[in-house]
Symmetry: D3
Subunit: 263 residues, 6 copies
């Protein structure tokens, strides 16, 4: 999930991305999901059970708008009650067309409109977003932002990053495919020893200055300029090191900024 | 165009189909287009320059709805002014979502709602039509029909014929691809004679009882049970026969009803 | 996951299938995974934290074989120490080729051999299984079974069910893709009411005698012969019904046996 | 059709292209077709009803050759009767193989041979043209040109422009697919106003120095360096400007020569 | 090659097929090729070095026609000099179009015309053959046969068998892909013994009454109704049996006639 | 076959390649096959009937290893009996996994191990070769080479040339597809004259300094800088020149080294 989040952050090229998808998985791992998304670089998470230190972010749901007789009343109620630090992101696609609701929401004081268009209405999402942008501009709301959500994939984020201002991403992070890993004996009392299909002997992975990674036997001398990547966390059953969530995020972000520079 | 119309009529399996597309071509051939569509079996045409004898059919355009401050007023104005023989087909997708407008149009007295959803909103048209049907039913309008239009192809007509009640078809008839035909000398003073690539000699085409068609030299005896299909319309420069539009339509319809029986 | 397990059970057509994949997911949901696999119809699970009532099933890992100087010694140790109710399924692909190890394992008393061939050696898995079967037969062990595992998909189970005797399935169950569901307001104080893209009103789903499912408004009369499928589990925040794991499994199995009869 | 003609002219890279296809459409729009082809940049048209000012161009049909007992007699009759300004383009594929007829036509005084090979004989048209070129050269007629016709597409023109000297193009121009356009209300008494799916407000399109086009509200200031492309032709029902065919052609040709320079 | 020939014979469904392709391979194996083609069921071979007993069959080459100033003289010379048992198959595509030459050859006494159309002229071979058939009929030669050759594949033979009367097949037989076989030790002094990837032990293959083939250890009892297919030809270095070419052909033909009956 | 061998040599980029495939074809042309492979640039051939001058090269077959009770005994016997000039290439995949046998063969004195993995075990051949290389290194045998064989295609050679040290190639050379050539009359007593589909007149092919080839009439002047490629070998039935195998190979190798430089 952290890798998926990092790919999406890279695709967004600076536009904020929020994790909206922990509700798609079992509640027992919701905090773990938000932690992974945060390590991968999202700007915030919508689930209030996220580990402390992760900014919470969310916007009104359709259910909220539906509790009022007209959209305007819902937006105004939100505006009245939310603290001043909460951005006025108004959900603008509950009953009418996005084009109509977005202009009305802007007239009701929205600083951003969220489009969560149902799949059945998404014939050409780019055309819809461009049309909403045009209408906001032509009606005098050039500063109102567009916030996109609703089953967005990494490809969607890359496709819309020039016309949308922020993204809420769910399943593309929370349903990231599981990585197939294995635990294997590769050494027996210091002797290289492995089943077929596995390379024998303890190993270290070095990252070279040019970004390539080299796998070598643990006892081989480190290659010049190489940085060892594997660290021992458990020793004879005891935890001897405990990786920190924010350090991991820092490493991801610095790596991503390198990739972004390379293009 | 007649062939295209016939294919679409077959696909509609009894639901009415109207020709909406003559405006897509040069005005000089508009009457010819409606004539061809009529021969191919449409139930009516929307262009008032269609040859006499073709029923005119159309519904209000978006421009009409937009001339009123609210959709309801447009629908009521139409209802007030149209003659009693004109069906109350209300266009129900101008500003809001189809679901919302359809229920409101039904409440305003529509006998049918026309959905002409813009391409950018057509993510899953079947889901939209089913949803409109559901809403009409659940709000107490099970008798209000659904009329579909907007860039419908033959495949669309076949795909929606179980949930839509009528179709307005434009480009799929009016832009039918041109059939490549040729005029060739195939006989010279009674002697078979043709350039390479063409079969020489005058010919007759016979339709056999099983529907197959057989091409034979004109002077060959007709095959048993075969009906000659080619008739001479021009002789030594003079028009000697003039096929009738309604006869042609009759032949098409009787052939289609045969095909429909076979499935 | 239950659906994935059911599909695989159906594909196995009576050969036993065991859930081997809970280790691929977060430990916090391991019991939930085994429960879902059990509901879907597996014959047992390998994770000892499975809910009570699910038969535990597993075989020796490669690590066990590697702890002995020669494969034979590992197999014999297992045979000596395992209780009489544990089947003698010997892992037969640790160091040598499956063909060689399978015959040796049979000679060491195996009642079944497990093939967990690494991906890099799986050029034509069917050919390998057929060859192992041939060798076991030709060396006098026609009763020794073949147990397959290692990244098996549903398609693999269907492809090998005629030549393998049992299957251990991991990721194809435990990594089943998440089903996209949504929670929506569809009714407001008894009035049908839903955002666009959702059908409004409370609903009931009926299964008809021919297997089709029909969705109707909750207040509509039940269709003749239809069985209501939705039951209320929570009412005004209180849990009022608690579906039972074994009942659910029973329903799945009876449905699968219907499908198997139809082919 | 003008766009199609322009694409083909670009593909021909300087080899002349003639419009041969108006006979594929309804006679009522033949003049319109030749006008559009001329605007798009063809070097002449074969239909004598083309608007004045378009050069007429054509060659003998198969029917002409067939009216004589031997090909040579047809070619010589043409040579005897055509005015000196008419190029001696002899149709060279009526009865025999192109290779044989082309050499004979050259011996009969052709300055060019036209190949209109029937589809059934076009296994590898490039090989046929190269063979005809080789034979003309080896028999001493290196100056006799090759004129290609017969269902040529833009891809064909691009594929043969290095070995053919001129092209007659029919359906690829005359059957160009219709462009889907729409007429919509976008403003109501000066107020931006449009149905969903359309951007509201009157607009102007500007061409920027780098070739990009930018669409802006009509009342927005023109972007620096941008040239306005839309001109008002009808005002309150009266025609106020009437675009000229030759001006339009000039604009197309100057644009094409820019494209050709860029490659 | 025998298999390829058999497949083609089956595709021809009773139309004669001749082996024309031994010249495509090294002369040292020409006799072997004709032998294989004969075993596979061809009706004759064109290479005079074919083993005795195979009927020789061939027609005039293009080089023969070209040795005369006009095609008619070549056909008449052939007619004058060939023995009465040689069929008058005239090659009818040397200089002019097939359509023209075929009618002329028929007028010169051909009992069949051979079409060996060059690839570059084969745009739609079926259309060409149908056109030649039509012209022969319409000019009064319904009994003149059509003999096809020239790079024919099995698919070609199947595609044209309803309109052509005989086939000359070259590379599709003579360039049949080599079958990958191997020689392996599978038994050591009576003990099953083979490298990995091979089933150990001597084997017999049985054909069952339903056509399936079953491979069993040599010492296993023959299955009921099964016919053993492997026969020992070499024993301790001495040839002990020598399969006969005509017996092999018989077996192929009887098998093919079974397949043809089944469809 | 020579072309196929040249392509493979180029793909191997300096790693030796040996011809292993003459046994896949009829014995009558085995010498011809090895001659063609040699011309194409292989470093040696395994068939002892190769023309004199071609280096013989081969390694022990599986049958040899199987004649000994254990692999080590076979390898040691080979080492004892082979002359000192024969490289100690030990076949290392007969019974066990490549990984196990390779390390044992290295311990028995191999200078190279040959991997001839059966298709059914080749799931990811690159992973297998990398694993064998890793194990040889980690067990102290970095100088033992890896020799690959077994149905290798040109693509395989290109894919493994960075991790394998030599290649034995069979069918990819010996089963190279036959090139379709034709013998045609193109001139009659000095006059250009050919059937349709063939260019008439005797020709010469020139290679230009930039590598392009130009075909011109024989009597045309040679293009500047062009080298004539066609030489007369037979004149009025008598052989007047006899191309030399080693000269041909030299030409191929110098051409290949040019291609390799260009990349």
């Amino acid at each position: 999930m952290a890798s998926a989040a990092a790919h999406i952050r890279l695709a967004a090229q600076g536009r904020p991305v929020y994790s909206f998808g922990s509700r798609r998985q079992h509640p027992a791992i919701a905090a773990m999901i938000e932690r992974a998304a945060w390590i991968g670089g999202v700007d915030g998470a919508s689930n209030t059970c996220a580990p402390e230190g992760i900014p919470l972010a969310g916007t009104m749901p359709h259910a909220f708008v539906m509790c009022y007789p007209r959209q305007e009343e819902a937006w105004c109620a939100f505006d009245r009650c939310a603290g001043p630090e909460v951005p006025r992101i108004m959900l603008a696609d509950t009953f009418y067309d996005e084009k109509v609701e977005a202009v009305r929401a802007a007239a009701s004081g929205a600083t951003a409109v969220r489009l969560d268009t149902p799949r059945s209405r998404r014939g050409n999402m780019r055309a819809i977003v461009e049309e909403v942008r045009w209408e906001l501009d032509v009606h005098g709301y050039p500063d109102v932002k567009i916030f996109l959500s609703g089953g967005l994939s990494r490809e969607d984020v890359a496709a819309y990053r020039d016309i949308a201002d922020a993204f809420g991403v769910g399943g593309a992070i929370a349903n990231a495919p599981v990585i197939d890993f294995a635990m294997d004996i590769v050494e027996m009392e210091g002797r290289p020893y492995a089943k077929r299909g596995k390379r024998s002997g303890a190993k270290q992975v070095y990252e070279m200055p040019d970004g390539r990674r080299v796998t070598l036997p643990l006892q081989a001398p480190a290659p010049e300029g190489g940085t060892a990547l594997l660290a021992r966390c458990i020793e004879r059953g005891a935890v001897v090191a405990r990786p920190n969530m924010d350090d991991a995020r820092e490493r991801v972000l610095s790596r991503l900024s390198g990739l972004a520079r390379e293009g």
